[in-house]
Every structure is written in C-alpha cells, then in structure tokens.
Symmetry: C2
C-alpha cells in the first residue's frame, strides 16, 4: 500500500529558490474559484469590468485603422517608456482628475499591476515597510509579498485612512528602526472597502508623508467611475514631487489589452523605464496604438458615462438587496467603483463559509485576501461590476440564506474553529480576484 504522501511529486528544485519565492504559494480558495466560474454560480467575487458595454464597432474600426495605417510599427518592438501619442492621451485623461503631467513624466506599463511591481522592485529591500490601508488591494498584497516587504495596515473609517493612525504607526516604525519605503493608497472607491478618502484627509495625509519624507503611491483605477459626483482631486495633483501615480485603462476601456501607466517624479521615472525594459523590453505597440486610435477617434467620455450608469444601477441593486435580505449586516456605501465591503455578525468566518456559499451557488471574496496579517475573517468583498441587477439580487438572496444558516449553527454550537492556520492567509490572489 502506498503511503499518503507518495503520490505527490516533490519539487527537486525546492532548495534552489530565492528567499522571496517562499511567499509564492497557491491560495486554497483558488480551486473554489474555478468552481465558482461555472455559469450557475452568481459570482460577486471577481472585479471584472463589464466590457460587453464597449462599442465593439469602434474597437474594431480602431484596430483596422492601426493595421491599415501603421501595421509594421504596431507589430514591432517599441520604446520602453511607451508610445508618445498614447502618453499624450493619458495626459488628457488625467487632466480630468486635475493632474498636470508632461508626456515625459509618464511610463506606459503592462497594466497598472506592472507599474506597482516595478515601483516595489525599485524601492523594497527585504523587511522594508510599506504602509497600506486596512484592508488593501489583494494584488498589491501579492506584489509586496513577492519582494518580501513588511506591510503595515493603517486603520480606515468611512472617510478613508485615518491620519492619526498613520502618524502613530510611522512613529512606532521609526522608533523601531524599520525603514518605511512608501505609503500605498487607493483614495477613490477603494478596493476592497469601497470608501473614498475625503478632501481634508488628502491634505492631512500628504502633510504627514511630507513631514516624514515618505513617498506616496496613489493607485487610482476607479477615479473616473463616480456615480453622483466626482471624488476629490488626486493626491498627485497637489504634490508632484512626492507622489507616484498609477493609472489604468482596464476600467475605463478594457483589461484585455493590459495597458496602464505610471506618473512619477523625474528621477524615479528614469529608473522605472530601465526596470521595465529589463522586465519586458517594451509594452505592446499594438495595444498602445489601438488605445491611442480609440481615444482620438471616439467619444470616450461618453463611454465612461455609460459605464457609470451601468455600475450605478448595479450598486443600487446590491444596496437594495442587502437592505431587503440582510438588513442587520453592516456594509459600506460606495459612491463609485466596483466594490462593497461587508462585515459579518460576530462568530462567522468568511473563508470557512465560502465552500457553503458556493454550494448555494453564490461566490464572494473572503476578507482575509485583503490583509497581509490574517485579519478580515469577518469580512467579505462583494463586487457589483459584472453580473446584472437581477443576478446581483439573486446572489444576495442566496448569500443571505448562507449567512442565516451559518448564524443558526453558531447560535447552536458556538463559532467554528478555523482549520486554516493563519499563515495560509498569506496567499497569492487567484486571478479572478482583481
């Protein structure tokens, strides 16, 4: 008879990996998400934009124009910093949020995720601290871990990161001699919490960062997707010397082209270009030219209005369904973006509950994915971007059934003890969780 482990093929190169590879472990919710992608499951898990609302005829005509007018250049290597004409369009887009930048300040990347990867690679030695919201973007947790950063979460409330909590943590870390390399923030319609940093706190936080000589990394994929009124102006619009800004076409156009950008102070920008060339040589010329053509020939602002309308309606559907089916569960009220953050009643564990939710044909992302320290067990991120209003309503109805059953169990038997050790929360994001 075979022993239990004998069917597992061990990795003969296990002892050869770099220290940083230890942080790369498959999430145990990964397999669940594969199940969750089946059509009968209402997935409120993934942050996939609703690209079906794009004007496909315009996309096709943009592609045709690029191939007809610029085919060989579109299929060739490009410059490491990115196509100047696309960088011009990026300037115009950023001007919508009050950011002034020269084309020379912009580096085009393979999605803003690559921008974050390059910034982290440039600044983080093992053990260096990054300050981040509590909770923060799961993909950022993955990058930071891959460079062995020490992530320090700073408390938030409904107005975003709390300045006093930021100051306290900076002072603690400085007293302990821990180098703080940057403050990572998603000020608008935060992923996952769905809250927006208030205007007054933006000023306060920039003041704190400046006073302590801490670089700010502002990640803003959702800023233009406001529902009622625009969010306060970007941090980068106030402080050009101390803020690195990450932008993305994934939410205002489409993620399938993998194009984002970084705006950085001059010295950093130079190093980012060199780091990007080492990593990928150059971003896709073809993707950049299609975007440049689309943004020059199409009414993209109106398209963003269309997206706003769709996501607003879905946010409304989710809020209404939560009020109907889960009236006593607390959650945030996002004024834009894709996500809403839910806090379960005491005694419930969102990761424990996920397999049961999937059995009931609804999926979500457990809160622990958004923390570097195992917190978030009572939290759930719900995404309202992809399913339509009816599916969202049905999804929340199913979720309510799961939560109610779980509460009854807890009331009868007491809270479940998680079999998942804390360290398992330090996992990589499944690709479905963006």
């Amino acid at each position: 008879m075979m022993s239990p482990g004998s069917g597992i093929s061990l990795d003969p190169w296990f002892d050869n990996y770099a220290a940083r590879a230890a942080g790369l472990n498959a999430s145990e919710v990964r397999a669940l998400f594969a199940v969750a992608s089946r059509p009968e499951v209402v997935s409120l898990a993934g942050g996939m934009p609703y690209v079906a609302a794009l004007p496909f005829d315009k996309v096709r005509s943009s592609v045709d124009t690029v191939l007809a007018e610029n085919g060989p250049a579109a299929l060739q290597y490009g410059s490491g910093q990115g196509l100047p004409t696309l960088r011009e369009h990026i300037r115009t887009i950023m001007a919508e949020e009050g950011i002034r930048a020269g084309v020379d300040d912009i580096v085009v990347t393979t999605g803003s995720q690559q921008g974050l990867d390059l910034v982290t690679k440039l600044f983080i030695d093992p053990g260096d601290a990054i300050l981040a919201e509590s909770p923060s973007y799961v993909g950022a947790m993955g990058v930071f871990r891959s460079y062995q950063a020490r992530v320090e979460h700073i408390d938030m409330d409904e107005h975003g990161m709390i300045p006093a909590a930021l100051t306290d943590r900076i002072e603690e870390l400085k007293a302990a001699g821990v180098p703080i390399k940057f403050l990572y923030l998603i000020p608008n319609f935060q992923n996952p919490a769905g809250v927006t940093l208030s205007a007054s706190r933006r000023v306060e936080i920039l003041d704190i960062a400046q006073a302590h000589g801490i670089l700010v990394v502002e990640d803003n994929p959702y800023g233009l997707l406001w529902f009622d009124s625009p969010p306060p102006q970007a941090l980068r619009s106030v402080d050009e010397a101390g803020v690195i800004y990450l932008g993305s076409f994934s939410k205002t156009f489409a993620p399938g082209l993998r194009v984002g950008w970084v705006v950085a102070p001059h010295g950093i920008r130079e190093k980012l270009v060199l780091a990007s060339e080492a990593a990928i040589l150059s971003p896709s010329s073809f993707a950049q030219m299609i975007l440049a053509e689309y943004f020059s020939s199409h009414d993209w602002k109106r398209q963003i209005d269309t997206f706003r309308g769709i996501y607003r309606e879905r946010r409304d559907a989710m809020s209404a369904a939560l009020a109907t089916y889960l009236p006593d569960v607390t959650h945030t009220s996002p004024a834009g973006g894709f996500y809403l953050w839910l806090t379960l009643p005491e005694g419930l564990d969102s990761k424990e509950m996920l397999p049961r939710a999937i059995t009931e044909l609804v999926a979500y992302t457990p809160g622990t994915a958004f923390f570097a320290n195992g917190e978030g067990q009572r939290n759930i991120r719900l995404a309202f971007c992809y399913p339509d209003a009816d599916f969202i309503t049905e999804g929340i109805r199913r979720l309510a059934r799961v939560i109610t059953a779980e509460r009854e169990l807890v009331d009868t038997f007491g809270p479940a003890t998680s079999e998942i050790p804390l360290a398992a929360n330090l996992e990589s994001p499944p690709p479905e969780v963006v």
Copy 2:
C-alpha cells in the same frame, strides 16, 4: 556664474531605493541610438524582426475573427497561466523542435523577456551565480543585474559553449562556496555570437549540469529561423526535469503583441504562474486570441519559410560585403537567426568607435553590451535582420571606412585610452538592442 552641476536636478528619493536599483543606470550609448534611428543611418544595431513580410491581410482577418466571435472575452482579464487554446498551438510549434510538453507545462508570458525575468526572480538571491555564454544576450544581462546576480561567462568557440570550461568554472565556484542557480544558454544562432551549440556538446553540457545539480535555462527565440538545415534538437527535448525552456512569438510572428512562453518542470511552473500573477495579473487575452486564431487559420510554417528566405539573403549579403570590404577582419558565420559577431583588429575599441561610425551613418552594437564584466571592447554585434541587402552592403562599406580610418589612427598614435570607466559597461540595454 553657475557651477557645472547646478543645472542638474538631483533625485530627492535617491536614498530610498532598494539595493537592486543600483544596477539600473542609463547606458551612455542610449543617446547615440536615438540618433541612429534617423533614416539616413544604416542601423546594423537593433534586432528588430522584419515584420513587414507578415501577411497583413491574414493578421487583420485574425483580429476581425477574434473581435466578432470572442470580443468580450478578448477584452477581459484572462488566466495567469495563459489561454489554453494558445498553449495548444505552442505545443505544436515546439514539436517542430522535438519538444514534448503538456499544455499544463506551459506558462504564457509578456514576451520571453518576462519569462526570463520571472525565472530570475524565482531563483536569484543577491550574489547567486548564473552561468552564461561569453558573450550573452544583452537583455539577459539587464535582468540578471536587476536581481543582483553574479554572472559568470563561460568561453565559447564556433561550436558553442566549451564543456571543459563549464566544468572548470563550476568547480571554481563550488570551491569558493558561491551558489550556482542556473546555466543560461541560447543554443541556436546565439545572440550575439551567431554560433550554434553542436549536438554532441548539448549532451555533454546536459550531463555536466545534471552531475552538478544545476538547472538549465534554454532561451530559443531563433531556433526555427535556420537557413540550410535545422539545428540539433532542443535541450528541453532531452531533459524535461532539468531544463526551463523560453519561447517567443517575436521572431516567428511579431514582437508587437508581446507574447512568449515558458516550459518548466512542474514545481517551477506552479511558482512561475504565481509570480506572473503578482507581476502583471494575466497576459493579454486579446494578443493571445489573435495569435491562436492566426496559428489555427494560417499556414504559419510557410510564413516561417518566407522569413528564413529573407534572413538568409541578408546574411549572405552581409557575409559577401564583409569579404569585400573587410577581408581581414574575423567574424562568425551564422547558419540562422539575426546576428554576426565581429572581432576588430588589436588596438581598436568598438564603443570608442561608435560615435565616429554614426557620423559615417552606420550603427552597430558594441561588444561590451553582451558581457557582465566589461569584456568585448574589440567586438561588434552586427544584425542582418532588418535592413535589406543593399542597405546591409552599404552599411558594411561605411563600417569598413570607419575601421580603416581607426586603424590608421592607431597605427600612427597607438591605441586610444578609453575615457569610459569599466563600470560604465555595466549598463542597461537600450530598447533598440534586443
């Protein structure tokens, strides 16, 4: 009056960078390459494939099919490992070189450069050794430096890396206690040397690597671009447990889509997917679908034949021009690929000579770009892939004029003392040098 340095704006974040950022410095030949891209200059520098020979009508119809049949999926996020249908095509392409691989063994990347970046990130702690050919690919030198690897060059001759030299170096490094993480090789039509590793040496080198427990990274962008007969079979086709294979669509299709792949032993493959998700979330769905459609609907083997014919003709033109204009300068005789490696007469310095060459309207890549240790001063890489035969002939004629003038100077005044310190050779590649 202003002091000499006062016009330079210093980087206020200089003290905050990670240790690895010290390797990211702009090349001083970068500015020269900007000049070299002017149309009156015959550039024998960049390794840009001749994409104008692609069937643009087929490319356009592939794109149209993707958008018509799969538009929303093409514009959406994809899986971190890459599209299964494209991985099926990759299997078929690799079978041409004797490689058997399951779709599950393949990871799609943003060009094979990203594959090399991820492999290096997974394995290299600062100071770990990588063994590489002498000379080796400039872009690999850039990645390796960005993770603070110690690159050890192993001597080559016209049959590729010399096995005895490899054994000697491994033993020296082991005796010195330096961890050797992998052996990086470009066995076919090597960049920059243009030589091919012989069949018998492939076996010998794999034996040596196995005996010492050293992983082999086989980079093979040019393997299908042979001129007279195919090169010996891929190392990966012989050893599946000990070889990571890097493949690319940049030379058999086009670099503008930025799609490459990695084939790796199972345990490594799993970590590569997680590392790629941390770095870019997922490769471009759009680019992958276009490639899958092109490879399923077009006679891609015939297209590769077309490319072979074009590059063979250009190689012939370069060989003939060298025989005519520089009969006593030694160079390699590539049987495929893009490059030829030239050794200047004693006393000449290829980097010193570059500004004068550009003045004469011809550009090349100085040999030092292909070494991590400052060697290569007497070498030049010439690329015959992009300009047509007449331009190549004219370029070599101009180069001969420069070399002749330089020799006369040296004969009269003795060799020039380079004003460029050795450390300046440790520079990042300009994007034009692939």
